[in-house]
Symmetry: C2
Subunit: 448 residues, 2 copies
């Protein structure tokens, strides 16, 4: 059977009962994480601006945006959920392809489920299938797709939103193929947007576009029949090398979701090892710029490919600067949302360390989740730290407890502090909810 059809066939016939318990637990962890990120980002300028620009074009205001009182139509709500949940670069990552899979999938699902009655079980199932789809398309086209310059959370995330919404809509096989096709032909998102609001726009636009693909396909809007594997299909066009066997091998028995990870720091994942190492070096000290003489990083080549900006003035840019990462790790000893604000980007100590003390060398011998850091202090002291597996990666995953703390830190930015525990509890038992609106209602502030 052709790969797209085989994937569509699996999506149509899959039953939640056939999904192993560990996968379902991992999906709950991912949902705790992405709901937290959605709340943490809900009041950011990128969301406010998009709301101001597009709100006047919204359809019937019935769908919810997590963390917001306003209502919009489900397609616009998908876009806004997606921007909010990725804007801090704090959402999950699949290290096999560097995609942030939950944002495009969950953003569409929450918008849909805020308007239509959806059980927690159906939601969970659609979410798992959406993430499975994203990860498999990602694995099949990695690394060529990503290296070409695509921000795959956008260009590939769209498949997950289409699959997930398509599942909730109960699409039959042919329509599911078209949903995948209409997703494929909307796949877009350039890495050139990194450091601007355009980056968070990508999973939002994917959520909206995948959602739209499923709606069109349901009514019989056709696409090509071989959108992934055809000679002018997504794989051939966007990835010089690809292996579509990865799309379908072990479908239904091997769940790629178990390879998902959660970020302890709200920034590009490749600079996490540097933060981790520098925080460990700074532990118990209070280092100012004048106390630091030099910082030398040895990092994987990809890190400098992605994150080599030194002169920055925006918090958003700091999320993709390994120099900023080292600076905040040493000067602040932490890397929460506050360390990636414009204010911190322009903090004199942080700025001096970032721009005048830190140097970085690309070393093919250093793995992407590792780093080697040397610090010379002004007093002559020499510090060294090697991190082999940064916290948050598969070898050192965040615990459920750490995910809860992360949820708390973000949720208080959007909903009353005394409502946070309730929302969190509903996330953990999402699979048992009779109607997803119970959780969604708990994850929005009271209406003005």
């Amino acid at each position: 059977m052709d790969p797209t059809k085989q994937l569509a066939s699996y999506l149509v016939s899959s039953r939640l009962a056939d999904v192993p318990a560990d996968v379902r637990h991992e999906a709950h962890r991912a949902l705790v994480n992405i709901v937290g990120c959605s709340l943490g980002g809900a009041r950011e300028p990128a969301v406010e601006i998009a709301m101001r620009a597009l709100g006047p074009y919204s359809g019937k205001p019935e769908a919810r945006v997590l963390g917001r009182a306003e209502r919009f139509d489900p397609l616009l709500a998908s876009l806004l959920n997606g921007i909010a949940s990725h804007v801090h670069d704090y959402d999950d990552t699949t290290p096999s392809n560097y995609i942030h899979p939950s944002s495009p999938v969950a953003s569409a699902l929450f918008a849909h489920a805020s308007v239509h009655p959806v059980t927690g079980a159906d939601f969970l199932h659609a979410f798992i299938l959406g993430v499975e789809t994203v990860t498999r398309v990602g694995d099949a086209t990695y690394p060529a797709h990503y290296e070409a310059g695509w921000h795959s959370t956008g260009s590939i995330g769209v498949f997950g939103a289409a699959a997930a919404i398509g599942k909730l809509l109960g699409l039959p096989l042919q329509n599911m193929v078209w949903a995948i096709g209409l997703a494929a032909t909307q796949g877009a998102g350039l890495r050139e947007m990194f450091g601007s609001m355009g980056k968070a726009f990508h999973p939002g636009r994917s959520a909206q576009a995948g959602h739209l693909a499923a709606l069109l396909a349901r009514e019989g809007f056709t696409s090509g029949e071989f959108p992934l594997e055809g000679p002018r299909g997504f794989a051939a066009v966007t990835a010089r090398e690809h292996d579509l066997a990865k799309l379908t091998r072990g479908l239904g028995t091997e769940f790629t979701f178990l390879g998902n990870t959660y970020k302890p720091f709200p920034c590009g994942i490749v600079i996490h090892p540097t933060i981790d190492a520098c925080m460990q070096l700074a532990a118990g000290r209070k280092l100012g710029a004048e106390e630091i003489a030099a910082v030398r990083l040895r990092v994987a080549p990809l890190v400098l490919d992605l994150c080599s900006k030194k002169q920055i003035s925006k918090g958003l840019e700091g999320k993709f600067s390994v120099f900023h990462a080292a600076a905040i790790g040493l000067v602040r000893g932490r890397a929460g949302l506050r360390e990636f604000t414009d204010e911190t980007a322009n903090d004199p100590d942080v700025k001096i360390v970032r721009e005048q003390r830190v140097t970085a060398t690309a070393d093919p011998g250093v793995a992407e989740d590792a780093v080697r850091v040397e610090v010379e202090l002004a007093n002559g002291e020499h510090l060294e730290k090697t991190v082999d597996h940064a916290i948050g990666n598969l070898g050192r995953p965040m615990t459920d407890r750490e995910l809860e703390e992360k949820f708390h830190d973000q949720a208080v930015l959007a909903i009353p502090a005394d409502a946070v525990d309730h929302a969190l509890a509903l996330c953990w038992k999402l699979g048992e909810l009779d109607d997803m609106r119970r959780l969604i209602d708990a994850a929005v502030p009271a209406e003005g």
Copy 2:
């Protein structure tokens, strides 16, 4: 100055008075053509289905879709206008890059101008700038972008919609750069969709996405600053080879619009020479399948790359079959909308000639607007015809009068016959209208 900024700067500062009269006349011809195509496609299934699927998600129903009584929000109307105007593959083509530039640009502009007061002069100017933008991005990335498998009417059309709407919104320079950036990062559309509704979806989605990009940019939603030329920008990511000098060279003095062409037949332009030759061979005869023994085509290699399907059952597929092209030219002696219906695709005479009589050879010595046709008749007669420049191309452009006939043929499908001349007259004097709604009102049927 960086290419994107230079383009944006031109868009912001351009004045209609600086656009030569011949360019303005060509723009009117393009508008006559695209309004006709919009009317001709307005009642097609692809439009009906999209309307049924997405209508319930529409915002305030105030914007018009040409040829339809229903109203939608301007973004959805952009999408629907785009599908309608391209669904017959009857719209214009820039032979330098095979893009159909008017559909994505005009579709967004008509939606916008149906809601906001826009003078004909401003509309015309924005349209010219939008098409200029599309053609220049297209020329700068052709042929690598197209050969990679992108349907550039979709993937590049989005730039034109963003530029045109951005101009009408009066965006300042920085915001125009972001509009271009947010367009670039939505650029998508796979040639794998050819032969399905997905193809017409492309300019529709581009019109909507470019429109959305301009709206977001106006409110300050940021993008990368180098979306076209950056190392991970549109050119580098989507075209292995590109020449960004073509984006800006002669901006404001050389107008690429003068290289635009209009289709006499509603199908892929590369099969036009075959239709032209076969119609000439059939002139004055009435050929049935039993009278035709063999048809041999020598065509440019690109023709078989794009249009090599023989076994088809849908009219849409016929638009991309050089075998169908030969069959209708010989059997029907014409190639109007009726020759690309499902009914004609399954007509026994057409089917037998297409599938059992016609063979085609790719010959690098044959130009893309040429063909050599040999026909053996059952009675032993041998016919030959060589076409060097198919009708409709730059060497043999359609006259204003032929464009008017084409307009008529299509417009009667959507508006009352006695309203067609009025609508056509308004198109020709579009640049003088005080409010574009005069034309738009004439190009929709009375509301139910």
